[in-house]
Symmetry: C2
DNA sequence: GAGTTACGCTACGACCTGTAGCGAAAGAGC
DNA sequence: GCTCTTTCGCTACAGGTCGTAGCGTAACTC
């Protein structure tokens, strides 16, 4: 389990009253993922999650306002398993993380849930913020790490030292993140084709060399 | 209006019986888009669409099996407006289409609907096929056109003539499509930041020159 | 005119949502 | 131990949506 929980309120302080059951938390999130596998986002209901978790429906509503927020927390922990392997060169590092991300998104829970909550977040600002803090922003670390590692190896130029250097670097990180994550998501969910070693290599080559240098 | 309709069955043949009302078709699709703007995907109901269109709810169900299929047809026509401007060089052509695609995805109808139907399609094969034929495949023409135009200009190498040349070319087109569409979608819907001229230029530069040549 | 199909309307059972009220359980502080 | 506070499971509920069935009527073909 990772440091930060994403729940609405986190009362495990030394305050009076019966504390919230941590087992119930785990049971609910596990049940949510299991139900997503079986019935998908469209068929998921709060009642069924409660039944699977062996918990009253009211308990769910005491912690999450609706289905979307629950599902975000249920799948968020899966994304924390991602890590950047050190394979010695930037190309291999990127291929590795692309394959990991592809494998994660190929799982039925994440596949059906991620796009759904993103869709819902277009009309729900609180949900978008929750997605950002619980999932998206946490994964930018991979881009930052890979970037600094490549800079240390001399594969990428170091950060510009100028006054706007830092801002430009952050902007570039966002761009790279959108390109990598976007391409993998689109390949898997829209084009519905697998993210395998061949595709990862081809994509990474394009990312590193560009269209101009694609066919040497 | 574009050549092919995407409806389930298209009976305007010379067959007996009362023909389906074309005005009802348009009214329903218009009402669907309008309702998407007002209430978003989550708040959209078949009953409301019917009421807005001035049509009985049963009429909707006679043509579309569910909300997802209706929405796919409602937004599909918007994507046919995309076209590849001829601005003289590959970089400008790509920037132009990226900006167009970004503007289209920034509209509230498409923003809230596209991800939702894709999410639903992960557990509904018929829906995925409908999305593919009504939206996705139709836009690959842009990549193909831009590619052949760039080849004619000498900006990209011509198709390999070998036995696997055609297959490799098709594979590359798919890759480029996933990268462009994926990056724009991710930027707009996940990162929730605008696709403006600056970003389009930065992204296109990365796409053409690659990470290696990003900061000259 | 006969046959066929689409339309609007109403009604309906099944389901999901989100909330309220209750008594019981599980902690903190004294 | 005792009180206070909060959570828990349970039941019940109003409101809304889904998708279908049945009916009489409208529109079109042959």
């Amino acid at each position: 389990m990772v440091a930060g929980m994403h729940q609405s309120a986190r009362p495990p302080k030394g305050r009076p009253g019966r504390p919230r059951s941590v087992e119930a938390d785990h049971a609910i999130l596990d049940a949510t993922r299991a139900a997503l596998v079986d019935v998908g986002w469209g068929g998921l209901t709060m009642g069924e999650v409660a039944a699977r978790a062996g918990v009253a429906k009211t308990t769910l509503y005491r912690r999450w306002a609706n289905k979307s927020e629950l599902v975000v927390d249920a799948v968020a922990v899966l994304f924390d398993e991602l890590e950047l392997p050190d394979r010695g060169c930037l190309q291999s590092d990127i291929e590795g993380v692309v394959l990991q991300f592809g494998a994660l998104l190929a799982r039925p829970e994440t596949k059906t849930a991620l796009m759904a909550v993103v869709a819902e977040s277009t009309t729900d600002d609180a949900l978008r913020e929750r997605i950002r803090s619980a999932i998206v922003d946490r994964q930018k670390r991979l881009v930052l790490l890979g970037r600094s590692r490549a800079q240390a190896r001399g594969e990428l130029p170091p950060d510009a030292g100028g006054p706007d250097g830092e801002e430009a670097a952050e902007c570039t990180v966002g761009l790279i993140f959108d390109v990598i994550a976007g391409a993998v998501v689109h390949r898997l969910l829209v084009s519905a084709e697998p993210v395998d070693a061949d595709w990862a290599r081809q994509f990474t080559t394009l990312l590193l060399a560009g269209l101009a240098g694609l066919k040497p």
